[in-house]
Amino acid sequence: MERAADATDQFPGPRATFDRALDGVKDDVLRLGAKVEDALERAGRAMVERDSDLADRVRWDDREVNELQREINTEITALIATQGPVARDVRELLALYHASAELERMGDYAVNIAKLAQQLASEPETPIFKQIPRMEQICREQLRAAMRALVDISEDVARGVCKRDDEIDHLYNSVYEDAIQLMAVAPERARQATHMLFAAHHLERLGDRVTNIGEDVVYLATGQIEDLNN
């Protein structure tokens, strides 16, 4: 009896193992990005809502971010060691490796913001500078776009991400001015002003890390290293 052709009759192709592993790494980097985005959203909300418990959970959950990043590094190291990737493959693995390191650092910024939220919650209440939630929102949007650019290897989206960093820098400068002014007119609120200034600083740094991922995507797509942080 003639055996029906099924999937097992098909030679999987010379790259099947590599492609499967690469897809696995991409999925993990996307999961890492989603975790960091979530941490950032909760840290920002904890600050606005003076929710110390929520901030605590952000700090606690950062262990998962660190663990996932280590897993990704191990996977990528093994792929480089065993598969001998070249050309776009090696650029892609290096971009994913670097992106996961940047995401881990962004997770740390979210933790720092959560800590500041707890300190603010322990001080007499002061309205949060309105630029801070806005910065946090833009950072998340940029992060999401950078993740999409990375997975789709979209140079255009990556360049757009880098461009938008100017908006964050502008908001940070504005927080800086407001903080100085608050300290001048209400010296008793100097601590709160300083906490908010630091939070804005962490968000500004976080934006730069997102830009770094954008640069990685441009390198991945074109093979050219460009500084898009200016």
Binding site: P14, R15, F18, G84, P85, V86, A87, R88, D89, V90, R91, T222, G223
Partner: protein, 299 residues
């Protein structure tokens, strides 16, 4: 491209291939050719050992290699890579007229060696092969002593100096002296595969060539013997120009300075897709065909 090439003022190899001088006239000036849409790599005139100009190789009516134009730079390792049957070995063998030994083989286009047309009338193929040595896929020492394997070529060429010194120098350059110095009278065929291949390299360099062609020199060797040959190639390039055909892309990536990628057209003729510094070709190849081949998407 005139007979002045015989008197190289820079002290490079003196070219005495031609018994009847062959000078190119103005109408034969080499035109810049492109392959696969990628502009060909060019080097300073003094650094060019081979210049291929629209080279095609045929076996009877079958065209094995089509219209290849490229330059091979001096004292560098140039790797030829590409899928089986794309004409890499045919191309390599055309560099020292080894294909002449096959009745049906012929070429069109030109190969200039230090500016001299290798296939011009009056060029002595034996002298060509002395200057442009070859190491083959399978180590093929003569069934003679280690010493005689190395001394054979110089003897045939009428070498007049100290043969002992020449043998020792050649074996040292091939990084095998320490392993064989106490058994020079022993048979070359008794050595390990890796040692035999280094003996063949010693044999090739004993006649003081200018170029060493290597056709898959490590395909029969284990990884350690392979790495030894690759290290040796790096040493040898101080004095020689090396062209290597390899199926092993990691070897091309590890061991060569420049890589040329060939593939086959629908007519099964091999053609040059892209030649670039190895580091560039393996990190950001220009041509999609190259990318697909080296990443295993095709081939």
């Amino acid at each position: 491209m005139t007979p002045e090439a015989e008197h190289d003022p820079d002290g490079g190899p003196t070219i005495h291939l031609v018994t009847t001088q062959h000078a190119l006239d103005e109408s034969e000036q080499i035109s810049p050719a492109t392959s696969g849409g990628v502009p060909p790599m060019t080097f300073a005139d003094d650094d060019v050992v081979f210049e291929l100009d629209g080279l095609s190789c045929f076996y009877d009516q079958f065209r094995a290699v089509r219209d290849i134009s490229l330059q091979v730079p001096k004292n560098q390792i140039t790797a030829l890579i590409g899928p089986s049957g794309c004409g890499k070995s045919t191309l390599l063998r055309s560099f020292n007229r080894m294909n002449d030994l096959i009745d049906s083989a012929r070429i069109t286009g030109r190969i200039l060696y230090h500016g001299v047309d290798l296939y011009a009338d009056g060029v002595d193929p034996v002298e060509v092969r002395r200057r442009i040595g070859m190491v083959f896929q399978k180590p093929n020492p003569f069934p003679k002593s280690i010493y005689d394997n190395v001394a054979f070529g110089p003897r045939v060429a009428g070498f007049k100096g100290s043969m002992d010194e020449l043998v020792e120098r050649s074996l040292r350059r091939a990084a095998i002296w320490d392993e064989v110095k106490d058994k020079l009278k022993g048979p070359g065929t008794a050595l390990s595969g890796g040692q035999q291949q280094r003996l063949c390299i010693a044999r090739a360099i004993a006649v003081e060539p200018d170029v060493i062609l290597m056709d898959e020199p490590c395909s029969a060797l284990d990884p350690i013997a392979t790495l030894k040959i690759e290290e040796l190639m790096r040493e040898l390039k101080q004095n020689y120009t090396i062209v290597i055909v390899t199926h092993n892309m990691q070897q091309a990536a590890r061991a060569s300075d420049y890589t040329a990628f060939l593939t086959m057209g629908e007519d099964r003729a091999g053609y040059l897709v892209e030649m670039a510094p190895t580091q560039e070709l393996f990190t950001r190849p220009v041509n999609r065909l190259t990318e697909d081949y080296i990443t295993g998407r095709f081939g």
